[in-house]
């Protein structure tokens, strides 16, 4: 049995020390959900009720609203808005906050029996302090009480953003489930839902790729049967429609494409794009190069296609959506790198 004296002995708090604007802060480790460097997480943007842009990161499938202590402490008016190197993820009531941090300075044991804490003069609801000031190593440290980081007004302001951010996460989950279904068995309804959810989540390139494939699918379904030979010029922009037509018609054969790099081939087995090759490159990469080509011509030939060593597994429509999305991303990257003319 533990003796009361030992049992009642208070342990020093283990605190995480971090710096914001050269100020030293610490927070009890029990409150800390994670620490993340900015490069490790992808910030998402949403707008609050006032139209102001708010950022959040997704942590364990939940949105963590990015907050800066300058804003939380009401100093934005006097100091500029700043982007910092890392995030401290803490839970504050219903909110998961990603507090912007300049640097993490390590863990410390803080024994408040030996350090006299001074309550902050900044108070929150019910006249309770935001935290306590203590002196550690000759420097002022503020031991923050995470549940009091947000003022009532800021909390109200963030409510709407949190709702939006939760909506984003829900859509993200739906998109993930939808991707899985589309990968195996794509449908017009599924592609439409994918385009809608992606657009709402700010993935405009994914949305437009899905819409392109959807449009091609609708054109093919309107024609009902593939009439005449499948052939055309790349600059006519009919390749996508014809690849979708192969899928809809569940055709087996080889689409021969003449591109400046040489001859390319796309293999279709019962409507599935099972492989592609161009200039010694195979699989999805080859398909992407063919779809990116602007000059050349193509023609489909019915033939047997071996499917035992297929390099592309997913359903044709989904492969096309993904490839178009990648192309769009790459083009955007090239534009960005090239910079303004």
């Amino acid at each position: 049995m533990t003796s009361p004296a030992i049992g009642e002995e208070a342990r020093p708090n283990r605190v995480l020390v971090f710096a914001v604007d050269d100020s030293r802060f610490c927070v009890d480790l029990d409150w800390v959900d994670a620490v993340r460097q900015r490069g490790e997480v992808r910030p998402h943007i949403t707008k609050d009720a006032t139209g102001a842009v708010r950022t959040f990161v997704v942590h364990r499938d939940q949105p963590a609203l990015v907050i800066d202590l300058r804003e939380a402490l009401g100093l934005n008016e006097f100091l500029d808005v700043k982007e910092r190197a890392a995030f401290l993820i803490v839970r504050v009531g219903p909110f998961l906050l990603a507090v912007q941090v300049d640097a993490f300075l390590g863990l410390r044991e803080l024994d408040l029996r030996t350090k006299t804490p001074v309550p902050t003069s900044l108070l929150r609801d019910g006249n309770v302090p935001v935290g306590h000031l203590v002196e550690l190593d000759g420097r002022v440290h503020t031991l923050l009480e995470p549940s009091r980081i947000l003022s009532g007004a800021l909390r109200d302001k963030l409510e709407g953003t949190l709702k939006e951010a939760r909506g984003f996460c829900e859509r993200r989950d739906k998109i993930a489930a939808l991707c899985e279904a589309l990968r195996r068995e794509p449908s017009a309804a599924g592609l439409k839902a994918y385009a809608r959810l992606s657009r709402r989540n700010g993935q405009t390139r994914a949305a437009s790729a899905a819409r392109l494939v959807l449009k091609a699918l609708q054109q093919c379904e309107a024609q009902a049967v593939v009439a005449g030979p499948i052939a055309g010029d790349l600059n006519a922009g009919t390749l996508l429609r014809d690849l979708v037509a192969l899928s809809v018609g569940r055709l087996t054969g080889e689409l021969q494409v003449q591109v400046p790099e040489g001859d390319a081939r796309i293999f279709s087995a019962a409507g599935c794009i099972v492989d592609a090759c161009v200039d010694g490159e195979w699989g999805r990469a080859a398909l992407k190069r063919v779809l990116a080509a602007r000059d050349g011509s193509y023609r489909f030939m019915l033939s047997d296609v071996p499917t035992d060593s297929r390099r592309i597994e997913d359903a044709a429509l989904w492969v096309l959506v993904q490839t178009l999305e990648q192309l769009s991303e790459e083009r955007r990257g090239r534009v960005r790198h090239a910079g303004p003319a």
Binding site: D22, L69, L73, V118, L122, L123, D125, N127, V140, A153
Partner: protein, 466 residues
């Protein structure tokens, strides 16, 4: 042509007539009102209403007489009547005995009691025959199902709001007088005093005796007095519910106390006048018991909130001198302070000796009453002093500069700080920390910030509360 259903409301009480107006007109009914029995009969013949809401006790005749006369006239016999009355045996008898009385509503009532009853009766009346409705068991029940007249059950007595209190605490004043007056009036052939018959008055006495109103009133008045004394001019902090916050923010506790106190006074005045109901803006009638309880609850909540917020405390906490020192590590000022500070444990001091970009945050969190800053004339500390000066905390803080005379060249104009020091809020510059020690020990300088201190402090307090 199908127009709005026409309803005749008959009640001698202006309050009840007003309540019916508030409830029924927005619900899409055309309402005509009469204040006595004779007028009700005439108007019923003239306007042929779809329904009559009839007070049981009228100045010129009883409600039962009105019902019988309407039933005897072929022009009005088909009109369903809903009796409105406070609880009593006679209304139940009338409901059983008189064919055109289809149901009744008890006072006090909520708006939905009236609208649901009216809707149910009109729906049944549309069938062409009068059908008795089961009486509501308790207030606020949904529309009752119709039953044949012959099988109409005896309606159970509606539940009455009551307070738990010790026996023998009956109020000797207005409650008794009210009952006596009601009994006298009943003996003289008048059934009602201020809208209550003798039966009702007895019930009122019973209710009021259980209220221990005198005790509650005394308690509330004591509480209000205590709150007033403690909370004069204090702003209400942000509170727990959005609705509460919207209602109460930017009010002082005193405002809220005055509001509650006013409501209490009004309720008690109504009680003394013999009235038993309060008409609320939404058209609901509440008994004065409920109103008193409401005031009591809100007072308790206010008191609780004030205590939680720390606005009330037995003793005001000592106001420690919060000193913040900003000087370079290893500077002469820093060395002087190192030797001086241990001699003054009564001071609450934090020192910033490097990375001066933290100054605004530390000022915001620490809220110093006195900032001792090394005057450098350049660098981060010099820049941050100007930022701090823009913060509201600066209005409640005295800034002293410490610098050797050669540092002050171009900064001080001899008699006092020059413009560069002034824009950083430096009120006075000392040449050594030991010079400043005397000022700090004196206390006057740190406890009395510049001339506009009190308004500034109040403004700061208001900003923080907002």
């Amino acid at each position: 042509m199908e127009g709005k259903p026409r309803i005749l409301g008959v009640d001698d009480s202006l309050t009840i007539r007003r309540a019916l107006e508030i409830v029924l007109k927005p619900a899409g009914y055309e309402l005509e009102l009469a204040a006595d029995g004779a007028a009700a009969i005439d108007m019923a013949k003239a306007m042929n209403p779809a329904l009559i809401l009839l007070d049981f006790i009228l100045p010129d005749m009883r409600g039962t007489d009105v019902c019988r006369r309407l039933a005897a006239d072929p022009d009005t016999a088909h009109i369903p009547i809903v009796l409105i009355s406070a609880k009593g045996a006679e209304i139940r008898q009338a409901y059983r005995d008189i064919g055109n009385v289809v149901t009744y509503i008890t006072k006090p009532f909520k708006p939905q009691d009236v609208t649901s009853t009216v809707a149910a009766v009109l729906a049944e009346a549309a069938g062409g025959t009068l059908v008795k409705l089961t009486a509501p068991a308790t207030r606020g029940e949904t529309a009752p199902a119709p039953v044949p007249i012959a099988a109409a059950p005896v309606p159970p007595k509606p539940a009455r709001p009551s307070f738990i209190s010790e026996p023998g605490t009956a109020r000797a004043g207005s409650g008794d007088a009210h009952v006596q007056e009601a009994k006298r009036a009943a003996a003289n052939g008048h059934d009602e005093v201020d809208g209550a018959d003798a039966d009702e008055a007895e019930e009122a006495q019973e209710a009021e005796s259980s209220l221990s109103a005198a005790a509650r009133r005394e308690l509330l008045e004591w509480m209000f007095e205590a709150l007033r004394a403690s909370l004069e001019g204090v702003y209400v902090e942000e509170i727990d519910t959005p609705a509460g916050a919207a209602a109460d923010q930017a009010k002082t506790y005193t405002d809220l106390i005055e509001q509650l106190s006013g409501e209490l006074d009004e309720t008690l005045r109504h009680t003394r006048s013999g009235a038993r109901f309060t008409l609320y803006r939404d058209g609901s009638l509440r008994s004065l018991d409920e109103t008193l309880l409401d005031v009591f609850r809100r007072s308790c909540r206010l008191l609780f909130r004030a205590v939680v917020a720390g606005a009330i405390s037995g003793e005001s906490p000592p106001n420690p001198r919060r000193i913040l020192v900003a000087c370079h590590h290893g500077s002469r000022v820093h060395e002087q302070l190192q030797s001086m500070l241990p001699a003054h444990p009564e001071w609450q001091v934090f020192v910033i000796s490097s990375e001066f970009r933290q100054l605004p945050m530390v000022v915001r969190l620490y809220g110093p009453t006195c900032l001792l800053a090394e005057v450098t004339g350049r660098g981060a500390l010099w820049d941050q002093l100007r930022v701090v000066q823009r913060m509201p905390e600066a209005r409640a803080m005295t800034v002293f500069g410490i610098a050797e005379p050669e540092r002050l060249v171009g900064l001080s104009d001899g008699d006092g700080p020059g413009p560069l020091l002034a824009e950083r809020g430096v009120t006075r510059v000392y040449h050594s920390a030991f010079d400043l020690e005397r000022v700090l020990c004196d206390g006057a300088a740190t406890d009395s910030p510049p001339s506009t201190a009190m308004p500034a402090l109040n403004a700061l307090s208001a900003e923080r509360c907002a």
